[in-house]
Amino acid sequence: MISRVADHCFWFGRYVERAESTARLLQATRTLVFDADLPVTQCWQPLVIVSGEYPSFCERFGAEAVGDGERVQEYLTWSPGGVSLVASVRAARECARVIRDVLSHDAWEAINELFHFLDDGVSPKLYRENREGFYRRMRNGTQLTLGLVRSTMLHDEPMSFLWLGAMIERAGQVARLLDMHHHTIAQEGAQLGASAQTHDIVKVALWLSLLRASSGVEAFMKMHQGRVSAQSLITFLLLEQSFPRSLRYCLRSACAILRDIWPPLSGSASEHSSQTRLAALLAWLEAQTFDGADIHALLTHVVDETAAVCTLVSTEIQGPPRPPATAPHAPAPQS
C-alpha cells in the first residue's frame, strides 16, 4: 500500500487507542479518589506524570495544581494540544480524513461522529452534568471505531498498520499505567515472601484501580480468585498471554502483524528492523522475574524500546530505498 497512507493508518490506530486509554485512565483515577483514602495529589499527580504532561501542566497551573482533580481532568480532556482526549480524537479524525479511501464507511462515520460530538456544544454540557457519562461516551466512541475497523474492513495491509499502531500504543500505555504507581508496587515487592499478606486498603484500592484502568478486573479475578498482590498484579498486566491488554499480548500481536506485513524472508527483516527489535524486547520481557525487580527501570526500558520500534516502523513504511530497474523504453508514440 501507499507509504504515506500506511503511516497515517498507523497513527490513526495510535490516536484512537490513546484517546480510549486517556478516557479509561481518567475514569479509573476518579474512582480511586473515592475508594482509596489517599491524599488527592497522590491520585492525580501520577496521571499527569505518565501522560508526559507534567512539565507543561506545572508551567501553566503551578505544581500544587496537580492535586486539583478538576483541573487535571479539564486539562487531560480539553486542552487543545498534547495527549488530551480532544487532541487525540482530533488527530485521529485528521488522519481518518487522509486515509478516508481505505477506511470503511462505518469506521469513518464512527470517528467522525465522535469528533463532531466533541466539537459541538453538546459535549461540554455532558461533561459538566454527567462526567461518568461523558467518559463512557468517549470510550464507547473509540471502541466502536476500532471494533468497526476490525469487523468492516478488509483484513489486509491498511488494517494491519492500523492495528499495529493500536497495539504499540496500548503496550506503551500499559507500561505507563503500571509505572504510575510503581512506588507502591516496589514496596510490596520488597515484602514479598514475607508471611504477612495484609495489604492495607489503600494498596488494594490502588491495584484495583490499575486493573480497572486496563479493564482487567474480571479477567484478573477469574485467574486469581480475589488474591490481589503486587506480584500477581504485575505478572498479570505484563505477562498474561490470554489477556488482550497485557504487555506481552500487545507486543506479541505487534510482532505477528509486522511478520505479516513484511515476511521475514522478504529481506527487510534485517538485524536493525522493527521486527527484530520488537522480538528482542518480547524475549527479554518473557525472561524477567518480578520478585524484587526494579519495576520502574523495567517499565522505562519497555517505553523506550517501543518508541524505538515506532521510529523504525516509520522508516520501513517508506519501502525499500531503491526503485527496481525499469524495463527498456517502449518506442514513444508521437503524433
Partner: protein, 498 residues
C-alpha cells in the same frame, strides 16, 4: 399512496406555491398546476405535510454531516467543513427532453475533443480562419509545448461537465463547458442516496433513472486510457490533499472505484515511468485521474518555481507511458472567451448544427463587443475568463455605480480577460425555505457529466442541480450560498410526451 393526510392547519407543500413572473419553473406552470412531466412528483410531494418535510430536511442534513459529505471553504484558512446543503424537493427532467439533451451533450463534447486534437495538432480551424488564431494561441490556457503530442489513450476529455441553464422560454442551453477537472459528481450520488432513504417510495413511483453506477463507468473510462492492457492497468486518483475544497469528492470516487488516492509526493518518475511509493517498494502507475490543475502537475514542465507536483510526470505522459485524465492543456477549450465559438467548432468538425443552444456572448477581445460592453454594464453579467466558482463576476443589474466603474477600468485595461452576457432569468424549482417552513421558487442550473472512451460516450442521467438558496440570488456556487438538489430523469415519457 399518501404518506400522511394533510389537514387544514397543515397545508400540503405546493398548495400556496406560485412561480416568479417572467421565469420558467421546473415543476409548476404559471397557473400553479404541475407541469405534465412533473405531475407524479408533485402529487407525491403534496402528500407530505410541511411539518413532516421540515423533519425530513433536518434528517437529511444530519446524515450528510455525520458522514462527512462536506466541502472546505477556501476563505477560511483552517479549512472549515460545511455540508453542501441539499434541498429534498427534486428537480425533474422528462424522458424525451433528456434524450434530446443527451444527444446535444455528446455532440458538444465530441466537437471539443476534436478541437483540442486539432489545436495541439495541425490547427486547421485556425489556418482556415474559422476561429481567431490570436484568441487561442495568446491564451494562458494554451500550452505551445504540448503541440504535436498525442494524448495517451486518444481521448483528451474523458470527463466533462457541461453547465446548462434554462431561460424563460423553457429551453435548456449551455452556459459553460468544464473540460479540465469538473467537480460535483459525488454530490449527485450522495444526494440520491439520502433522498432514496427518505423518499424511497416516491422515487420508485416516479420511475427515476439511477445514478449510482457513475464510479463504475468512470473506472471503466479511466482503464480504457491505459497504455498497458486495461485489465492490468494500475489507476490512481491524484488529489492536492485533505485541505482541498473537493477532498470529499476525491475520497468518494477513490473508494467507489476501488483505486488508490495519492498525493503528488507519493509519486515519482524514473526513466519515464511513474511509480507510487508503497510499503513494499515502488509500484508502476499507468493511469492517473488527476484532480489537480495543469500548473501543479510537473514543476519541471509547467512551473520551474513550484515545489508542488511530480517532477518528470509530463515526460512520462509525452512518451505515452502514463495516461492523464483529463489531458493537460485542455484549458483552451473551456476558456470563457473560446465558448462563443463552440457552435462553429461543431459545424467545422462534425458538419452538424449544434443540438443545444447557448448563451449569446460578447467577447471583449473583439473591439465592437468591447465598445458595447463598457457602455451597457448595467444590463450585463461580466465574467473573468480565467476564474471560476462565481468569483470575478459582475452582476450588472444588481451592481453599484462604483463596482461598474471598477469593472470598466479592468475590462479596458485587459479586454482579453473578460466576456459579457445578458443576464438570463434562470429557471426556478420549488425549494425548501427553512426560515418560513414552506416552498419558495429558487434559481437553479444543471451540470451533466459526460464520460468519453475511445469506443463510446456515456452520459450520467441528470447531473448536479445547483440551487441559489439565497432569495433572489442568481449565483448557485457552493462557495456563495448555493445548495443542491437530487435530479430525477424519468424513465418513461408521460402521456403528453414530455
Amino acid at each position: 399512496v399518501p404518506l400522511t393526510v394533510p389537514t387544514a392547519s397543515n397545508l400540503s407543500l405546493l398548495a400556496k406555491y406560485r412561480p416568479l413572473d417572467g421565469t420558467w419553473d421546473e415543476l409548476v406552470a404559471p397557473d400553479g398546476t404541475a407541469r405534465p412531466h412533473a405531475q407524479r412528483t408533485c402529487a407525491l410531494l403534496n402528500a407530505v405535510a410541511a411539518t413532516e418535510f421540515a423533519r425530513f430536511q433536518s434528517l437529511a442534513e444530519l446524515s450528510l454531516y455525520n458522514q462527512g459529505v462536506t466541502f472546505s471553504v477556501y476563505s477560511d484558512q483552517r479549512g472549515t467543513e460545511k455540508i453542501f446543503p441539499l434541498c429534498l424537493v427534486p428537480r425533474v427532467l422528462g424522458a424525451r427532453e433528456w434524450a434530446r439533451t443527451e444527444q446535444g451533450l455528446i455532440q458538444r463534447v465530441h466537437a471539443l475533443n476534436l478541437f483540442l486534437d486539432d489545436i495541439y495538432g495541425e490547427q486547421r480551424i485556425l489556418s482556415e480562419g474559422r476561429l481567431p488564431a490570436d484568441l487561442i494561441l495568446g491564451a494562458r490556457s494554451y500550452h505551445p509545448k504540448l503541440r504535436h503530442l498525442a494524448a495517451p489513450g486518444g481521448v483528451r476529455i474523458p470527463i466533462a461537465g457541461i453547465d446548462l441553464i434554462r431561460g424563460p422560454s423553457g429551453e435548456l442551453r449551455v452556459l459553460e463547458d468544464n473540460v479540465r477537472t469538473p467537480s460535483g459528481v459525488s454530490y449527485v450520488v450522495e444526494n440520491r442516496r439520502v433522498t432514496k432513504r427518505i423518499f424511497q417510495h416516491s422515487i420508485e413511483m416516479a420511475g427515476v433513472r439511477p445514478v449510482e453506477q457513475y464510479p463504475i463507468e468512470l473506472a471503466r473510462t479511466l482503464r480504457a486510457l491505459s497504455p498497458v492492457d486495461p485489465d492490468d492497468a494500475h489507476t490512481v486518483l491524484l488529489t492536492p490533499g485533505s485541505y482541498n475544497s473537493a477532498y470529499f469528492e476525491h475520497t468518494f470516487l477513490a473508494r467507489h472505484m476501488g483505486v488508490e488516492l495519492v498525493e503528488a509526493s507519493d509519486l515519482y518518475v524514473e526513466r519515464d515511468t511513474v511509480y507510487v511509493r508503497t510499503t513494499h517498494g515502488p509500484k508502476r502507475v499507468d493511469v492517473i485521474y488527476r484532480r489537480i490543475d495543469d500548473a501543479y502537475l510537473d514543476p519541471e514542465f509547467f512551473r520551474p518555481d513550484s515545489m508542488l507536483g511530480v517532477p518528470g510526470l509530463m515526460g512520462a505522459w509525452v512518451r505515452g507511458r502514463v495516461a492523464l485524465a483529463n489531458a493537460p492543456g485542455n484549458g483552451c477549450a473551456d476558456d470563457k472567451a473560446v465558448y462563443p465559438f463552440v457552435p462553429d467548432m461543431i459545424r467545422f468538425y462534425l458538419g452538424e448544427e449544434p443540438l443545444l443552444p447557448q448563451v449569446d456572448t460578447f467577447v471583449c477581445a473583439r473591439s465592437d463587443d468591447l465598445a458595447f460592453v463598457v457602455e451597457h454594464l448595467e444590463e450585463l453579467v461580466v465574467k473573468s475568463v480565467d476564474e471560476a466558482g462565481g468569483y470575478g463576476m459582475l452582476m450588472g443589474p444588481q451592481s453599484t455605480a462604483a463596482e461598474r466603474a471598477e469593472y470598466r477600468e479592468r475590462i479596458l485595461s485587459s479586454p482579453r480577460k473578460y466576456i459579457a452576457q445578458r443576464r438570463i432569468e434562470l429557471s426556478t424549482c420549488p425549494t425548501w425555505d427553512p426560515a418560513h417552513n414552506e416552498l419558495q421558487p429558487r434559481r437553479i442550473d444543471l451540470r451533466p457529466y459526460v464520460l468519453t472512451r475511445p469506443d463510446g460516450t456515456w452520459v450520467l442521467p441528470g447531473g448536479l442541480t445547483r440551487v441559489a438558496l439565497v432569495p433572489g440570488s442568481y449565483v448557485v456556487n457552493s462557495s456563495q450560498g448555493g445548495g443542491s438538489k437530487d435530479t430525477w430523469v424519468l424513465r418513461e415519457p408521460d402521456r403528453t410526451g414530455a
